[in-house]
Each structure stands twice: as C-alpha cells, then as structure tokens.
C-alpha cells in the first residue's frame, strides 16, 4: 500500500497535516479547532446555508465558507481573527432577526447559571422555559461560542401557529432558521422526500406539498428531521418539556426482527426519547417510527401492571411476589406434563427464552412450549422458519441487479431494508413490487403488480416459468391476460442478472395461501439461487429457535458450525403442538393470544401491560420490559445484539427470567437458580460456544419437519397490518401509532374501493 499523500496546512498559526479531500471545516474539526456551523450534517455534502463557518484564507478573496472550501497544500487559514468574529456576529444577528431570542440573551443569564436564581414569576427548580429545546439547542451553544450578547435588528417574527395535528412531533416554524438539515436528511438520507422548501425569499417555509398534513403527505415519522434540527422548531411530543436527558444507553429495539441499534435517552429513571445510532452496522441509523417514537409511551404507559394480582370472586387483589410465586408453584405442582401449556413470545430476550425452555423441560417435564406465532402461521410454520433462518444479509440488496418485493412496505417499519431498496433502485437496480395496495416503493418500481394476496402463489408460479401458452391453465388464464406482457418484459431483466433479491414483508403471514407463496420462495432460493430476505415482526424468532424455546428443538441444536447462511439439512424432531386440547394450567409469558389458547382451569398471565380480553387470568404477574432488563436478541440476519437495561423495572415488576426461576425454586425442581442475566448467559454458553460475545453472524441448519406443524386454530388474516409488542398492539398504547394505523386502514380501504 502506498502511503497516502498528506497535505500540510496552517490553521491559526499551527502547522498540521491532513488527508486530501477534506473541507477546511472538517480539517479544523479533526484538529480540534472550533468553527461554528449550523447547517453541516455529516455524511451529507456541504450546503453552505448558514454562513457562520466563514474563515480567512491567504490568497483567497473575501471570507470563504469553510464547509464548502476544500483544503489545499500549503493553505494558511485563520479562523479566529477579530474581523471574522465580528462578521460571524453580524451573520448570526441576521439569522436571529427571525428567531425569538429570549432564550439566548438574558440579563440574568450568568447569575441564573450559577445560582439558579430566576426571575420571580418562574419556579426556581424549573427555571425559564421559553422553548422545548432549551439547554440542548445547537443555536444556543453557537450563540454562546460566537459571543453574541444582544441583537440590534428588529425581530421579524413570523407568527405561525404551532403545528400539532400530526402524531409524534410538533413543529414550531417560528423557531426555524431554514438551515435545510431536515429537508436534506428527509430527501437524501431517508430517501423519503416529505419535506421541501416552499416558496422563496422571506416567505420560505418547510413542509410537504399543498398544505397537507405530514401524515397525508407520506411522512414516515422516522424522526430524522427532529434529530438533526439545531433549534427547537421540531420537538418530540412526549418528551418536549423534559429538558436535557441525564444519561444515554445504547440498546437494541425489540419491536421487530431487524434489530436496529437505538440510543435511549433517560432522565429520572424514565426513558424520554430514543435516538438513531448512525454508527450502527445493522441499520446505519435508519430506524423507523416504532423505534424512534413508540418506546417511551409504551414502556411508561399508564396501563402498566404494577403488582402481582390474584383473581378473587370480587375482582383482582394485589398480592406480594412471595404469595404470587407460592400460588403459581402450587398450581403448577403435581400436574401431568401434558396438562400444562406454556405460551411464550418471540419478542423476549434470548436469556428469557432460554429460561423458559428450561422451565418447561426441567420443571414441567414436557415439550409443551408454544407461541401465538404457531397459530398465525399454521401449516406454513415450517417453511416460514426455514425462510427466516436463512434470510440473507441486508447488504445484498444494494449489490443486487434485480430486487423483487412481495407485500412489503417500509413506511412505518423495516425502514433499513426499505431504504436499501430505494438506494439500489436509484442506482439502477431493476425493482418490481407485488402487493394488493400501494406501497412506498412503487414510485421507484419498474413495474407495480397489484394483485390480491390469494393470487400471489399463482403469480409467482407464472413469473418463475413464464410462457404465454400457460393461459391454457385455468387458474392462470386471467393473470396471463392481465399481466402477461409485463411479466415477460421484467422476466427478461431478471433472467439476465445473476444476483436477484426477493424481499417479503409481514403481509405474507396473514395471506391466504401463504404456504403456496413460501413454497415458491424456497424454490426461488434453492433452484434459481435468489437471495431471500424476510421482514417479519417476530423480533427474536431466530433466538427462540437457537435457545430451543420450541417443541422438539434443543438449545443450540439448530446452529450450524459454519458462518454461511446457506441451508444445511439436519433432521430435527419438530413435533406438532396441539393448541386446542383442554389444559389444567396455561402460562402466558409475554403473550396475549386469548383467541387461540385452549380452555383451562387456571390461567397465568405474565406481561407488562394488561390485554383486552373477556378472559380473565387467574394470576397476573407484572413483567419488566426490554428497557428495564438486560439480555441479548438475535436479529433476522443472525446477529447477536445486546439489549441493555436503561431504567429500573417499573414499580413492582420483575424480569421474566427472575419470575420463572423463582417459581422453579419454590417447586424444588430444575437447576435454574439465577442471580442475574450473566449467569444465564454462562449456562447458554454450554450450548452455544462463546455466547453472547459472538461477532460473526450465526448460521442455522435446515429444519426438516415430519408432520404438518401446529394446527391452525383460527384464521387471523389481516392482523399483521398491526404492529405489536408482547401481544399488545402498539396502536392501543401509543397514541401516534393509532393515528398511523387509521391512516394505513383508510388507504387500504380507499384502494379497494378504487379497484
């Protein structure tokens, strides 16, 4: 490797060497020289809007903006002369002529900082609160650094009403300084294009077209604009007036199988906000609305279960943990293994799932460990698991020549996958979409196939083996006449390319004839070597299977040694589980599938929030949620990702593993006395080498199942438009998610009418 040529420059009389290709601003920041700027936004190209980063360069006329001037060898740069200072102050004054300045200049500022003594009409503990962004505002910091203490221009206050009608964040464009960060992040990072500059000159505002609300204009509510805003113009509704957070904890979002890394902002033992982690290799900071906005409201919901409860003839009575565990142990003791059914959510951590399977196998002596997922998928369960466990890495999307999405929409979920698809399509990858309603990827799609889910299997059949003659087959005749030409054209494009990717969305799960579609997907993967990516809502399904929290699968049994994601065939004895048979005790762990669980004498409900159901559990055990207890999860890509404890468990709630191991201890059965998460991880290490510090992505063997898997109890079609966590739909708990859900429903209704 040849040594990279370094450029030698002088910044403020200091000689430094920098890489070529940097701007003066980047070079200065790398060398700890402060230059103020309000519009730069890494990694986007420079924009030069705020004009605060002006510097002096020998030989260059005037005062160039450092963010748009590349460094050259031998440059002599001055960033802090008196002239520049006064120029910056002038620029800032102009900028502030549209921005209320009460939070920036105050005669009591110094005293206030020192003694928190405030003017008389304001509470001493709260201080003045002019703006939700007070104390975490970039404009405030820059004003202080530039040393501006007053503004001499008259304030041109724009008098816009604060826009509060959209979910999740409020917009006060009176505070906007038109730096353009939100517009750029929306268009160039999220590739969404909801925000744009409207009008021009002093009439410029930011927003979507035609005065529509953000919801109508196709906003994803990813919150990227709120994250990058340097002022208080955009603010999260839930945590608007909470002030600066005390602490930040990096964790993994537990709402779906992508495993986005998020930074939880906490204060006073409460989660205030969740920010994207732009350094994350999983999602590159491209989190969706659920991870960005739906966490604080869910985990601090007023509905949270606060104490163990027992059903009595006159209603529920609060009891102590000691009583609750004794009662559960009594009911679970002395019953035959087949009389107990444990239902566990795939949205729990690996550690919780491992303890659950230990509990079922060692304490109850059975294999009756179910999940509502079994009834969602019915006969297609085995094929679904096969597809999920051999889902390819997301980075194949951008390398692909052809991408085919089926029932996939990344507006309100799975956005790292959706954005990769958009990026690929913009670079020239052929994209085709198959769905029954409009998808957010349609705009970039070469051909949009709008077909009912019940016909997807037939469509794929035709697509994979197209010939106009197939119109003679009765079931395909209408598809050939409607879509024949399109299929022929795109088929040629896909046949030419050797790297195709097919992405299936969660709609597949609720689709009629999902089994037929999955059969075709497996054929695409195994025969035509397409890469398959499954975007599914069962967060830790991969972990559930790795931990063996599944009938007939032992811990670690499904993991193959290699790190290849291609399927290896291993026979396992996956046994079907009867969800209809009457049981003595049904124990729900993080699940609320009241419509599919069988009749029973005694029902234990262990979860964070109560479920809406006419069936009353006999015993309620409050469990802590993923922000309150540590652990790991396994994403659909096979990465083992850490879930960190950010706050203490809510009131009297306890982690799932704690509850189970205490019940087991009380029953004097099983070797599962755990003090903490790391002791469980030690036990898991006996089955999975190196757990949980596994850098490579885990590979799974192929599952071959005898029999048909679980029995489908009830058709739950349509349920997967709803996102839920631990069996409780997010829309029931989080207000903004309800608005989004209503919007999704109304679109699909109007779409059906249009057809």
């Amino acid at each position: 490797m040849t040594k990279e040529k370094r450029l030698s420059i002088t910044i403020d009389n200091r000689n430094v060497e920098v890489r070529p290709g940097l701007t003066i601003l980047q070079a200065a920041r790398e060398n700890n020289v402060f230059i103020p700027s309000l519009c730069t936004l890494e990694p986007l190209p420079s924009y030069g809007a705020c004009r605060l980063c002006v510097v002096e360069v020998d030989g260059l006329r005037g005062f160039p903006t450092s963010c748009t001037t590349p460094v050259e060898d031998g440059m002599v740069i001055r960033t802090d002369t008196a002239e520049i200072k006064s120029l910056r102050q002038e620029v800032l004054k102009l900028l502030l002529s549209e921005h209320p300045a009460s939070c920036l200049f105050c005669t009591e500022q110094n005293e206030c900082k020192q003694f928190q003594g405030t003017i008389r009409k304001v509470g001493v503990t709260t201080g003045c609160r002019y703006c939700p962004n007070d104390n975490r505002c970039e404009l405030q910091q820059v004003t202080e650094k530039i040393g501006l203490t007053e503004t001499s221009y008259p304030v041109y206050y724009r008098g816009f009403p604060v826009e509060k009608y959209d979910p999740f964040y409020d917009r006060d464009y009176n505070l906007c300084i038109l730096c353009g960060r939100c517009v750029r992040v929306c268009n160039n990072v999220r590739l969404n294009g909801t925000l744009s500059f409207k009008q021009r000159g002093k009439l410029t505002t930011i927003g979507p077209a035609f005065e529509r609300s953000h919801l109508e204009a196709g906003c994803e509510f990813c919150g990227a604009c709120v994250t990058v805003c340097p002022t208080g113009a955009l603010s999260t509704k839930v945590s608007k007036w909470y002030g600066k957070p005390d602490n930040q904890v990096s964790t993994t979002c537990s709402y779906c199988s992508v495993g986005c890394q998020i930074l939880l902002q906490t204060k006073n033992n409460e989660v205030l906000d969740a920010l994207p982690d732009y350094e994350s290799p999983v999602d590159h900071g491209l989190i969706c609305v659920k991870g960005r906005f739906a966490i604080p409201e869910y985990v601090h919901s007023a509905l949270r279960l606060s104490s163990p409860q027992r059903l009595t003839p006159v209603g529920y009575e609060d009891i102590s943990w000691e009583q609750a565990i004794t009662e559960a142990a009594e009911k679970l003791s002395g019953i035959k293994p087949e009389d107990c059914l444990v239902m566990v959510s795939p949205q729990l951590t690996n550690e919780d799932l491992f303890v659950t399977q230990q509990f079922v196998r060692q304490v109850m002596g059975s294999e009756n460990i179910g999940s509502s997922m079994m009834s969602d998928l019915g006969n297609s369960l085995q094929m679904f698991m096969d597809l999920v466990l051999h889902t390819d890495f997301f980075d194949v999307i951008e390398k692909a020549e052809g991408v085919f999405t089926i029932g996939f929409d990344s507006t309100y979920g799975y956005s790292p996958i959706g954005i990769s698809v958009k990026k690929a399509a913009q670079k020239g990858t052929t994209l085709i979409t198959l769905d029954s309603v409009d998808s957010n990827l349609d705009m970039l799609s070469e051909t949009v196939f709008k077909i009912e889910p019940s016909r997807w299997a037939d469509f794929l059949d035709l697509f994979l083996d197209y010939s106009p003659k197939r119109s003679s087959e009765k079931r395909l005749a209408d598809l050939v006449s409607l879509w024949g030409d399109d299929i022929e054209r795109v088929n040629k494009l896909f046949l030419k390319s050797s790297s195709n990717v097919v992405i299936v969305g969660p709609k597949l799960i609720g689709a009629t004839d999902a089994q037929g579609v999955m059969e075709k997907l497996i054929k695409m993967r195994d025969t035509f070597s397409w890469k398959v990516i499954v975007a599914h809502p069962y967060t830790n399904l991969a972990g559930m299977l790795a931990m063996g929290a599944f009938p007939g699968i032992k811990p670690g049994e499904l993991l193959s040694d290699g790190d290849s994601r291609s399927p290896l065939t291993v026979q396992t004895n996956l046994s079907p589980l009867d969800l209809k048979k009457r049981r003595k005790v049904v124990y729900l762990i993080g699940e609320a599938p009241f419509d599919v669980i069988p009749e029973c004498d005694y029902l234990i409900y262990q979860n964070g929030l109560p479920a809406e159901s006419s069936r009353q559990p006999d015993l309620i055990l409050p469990a802590s949620l993923f922000t309150e207890s540590g652990g790991t999860m396994m994403s659909v890509e096979g990465r083992v990702l850490p879930i960190q404890k950010a706050v203490e468990p809510y009131m009297n709630s306890k982690p799932d593993w704690w509850i189970m191991s205490n019940i087991a201890e009380k029953m004097n059965k099983g070797k599962m006395k755990y003090k903490d998460v790391s002791s469980i991880q030690g036990e898991i290490r006996k089955h999975i080498k190196g757990f949980p510090n596994i850098k490579k992505r885990l590979a799974f063997s192929k599952i071959n199942v005898k029999g048909t898997g679980a029995v489908q109890v009830k058709s739950r079609e349509g349920i997967f438009t709803q996102d839920s966590y631990r069996g409780i739909p997010l829309a029931e708990v989080v207000m903004g998610m309800k608005a989004i859900e209503e919007r999704v429903q109304s679109i699909s209704c109007s779409d059906k009418e249009a057809q």
């Binding site: 744009s196 409207k198 035609f210 204009a217 196709g218 705009m443």
Partner: protein
C-alpha cells in the same frame, strides 16, 4: 383530465431535469398545476410530490389553483409607480377584496402586480387579459372592470 396529463407527460423524458418544462406544459394545458397532475408527474419522474411542489412554488410563474376568468395585471414599474400605479393597485385590492396573487371567490378576476409592461410612456398601465389600458385613473378603472364579467 388524466388522459390529457398523460399526453403532456409523454412529450418529455423521464429524467428529473425535465421537471420544469413539464410543469410549464401542464400549466399551459390546464391553466394551473393541480394536485392530481403533481401526482402523475411524481410517478412519471420518480420524485415525490413534495419535491415537485418545492420546485414549483419557488417560481412565481406556477399557480396551484384554477385561474379566474380574467386576469388583471397592475404595473408598478418605476414610471407607473411615479404616476400613481400603487393607488390603482390599492383600489383594485380593496374593490375586489383580494390581495396580489389571489383570485376572487367568484373566480371572476385574478390580481397580479407586475414590474414593467414595457410601455412606460403610457403610464400608469393596467393589463386586463390581453388588453393594455393606458393613462389609467381610479374612475376609468372602475368603469372598465364592469366590461369584464
């Protein structure tokens, strides 16, 4: 309407460089840029409706609601301004109950201010549709408006 939009669109390439010519074509055909046509352009050029609106609202030449039956352009160029153009504009704004750039609720008139119509010797000048009216006064203008229904 949607068929005519398609006809306009097919005259142009599907590159985003053609956005402004397309918008001009649409405005020429329909008199304004409607939400419906923005939707069609969005699919055609593969850029979002909001981005199209951002571009088109930057230029004064594009309008987003149906135009009135007659358009009044009051000149406020230097010569017209000196000879009382501003009074004429104020009278129009008061009389019609709208401000510059708006359309009367009965869709009878559009009101616009222009910088110069190029006939300063005739100032102050008002243009209604394609007719230029010279040496205008408030009284003359009031009478004149009655001719346009």
């Amino acid at each position: 309407m949607s068929e005519t939009i398609e006809a306009v669109l097919t005259q142009y390439s599907r590159k985003s460089d053609d956005l402004i010519p397309i918008l001009q074509g649409v405005q020429k055909e329909f008199g304004y840029v409607s939400l419906e046509s923005v939707k069609k352009i969005s699919r055609y050029l593969r850029i979002t409706e909001n981005q199209i609106y951002g571009v088109s609202s930057f230029y004064a030449q594009f309008r987003f609601d149906p135009p009135g039956r007659h358009s009044i352009k009051a000149c406020l160029g230097t010569a017209c301004h000196v000879r009382g153009g501003a009074t004429l504009l104020e009278m129009l704004e008061r009389g019609l109950g709208i401000s510059c750039g708006e359309t009367t609720p009965d869709k009878r008139f559009d009101l616009e201010r222009v910088a110069c119509l190029g006939c300063c010797a005739l100032s102050p000048v008002v243009q209604i549709d394609k007719n230029i009216y010279s040496r205008m006064t408030v009284t003359k203008l009031t009478e004149l408006l009655k001719e346009y229904e």
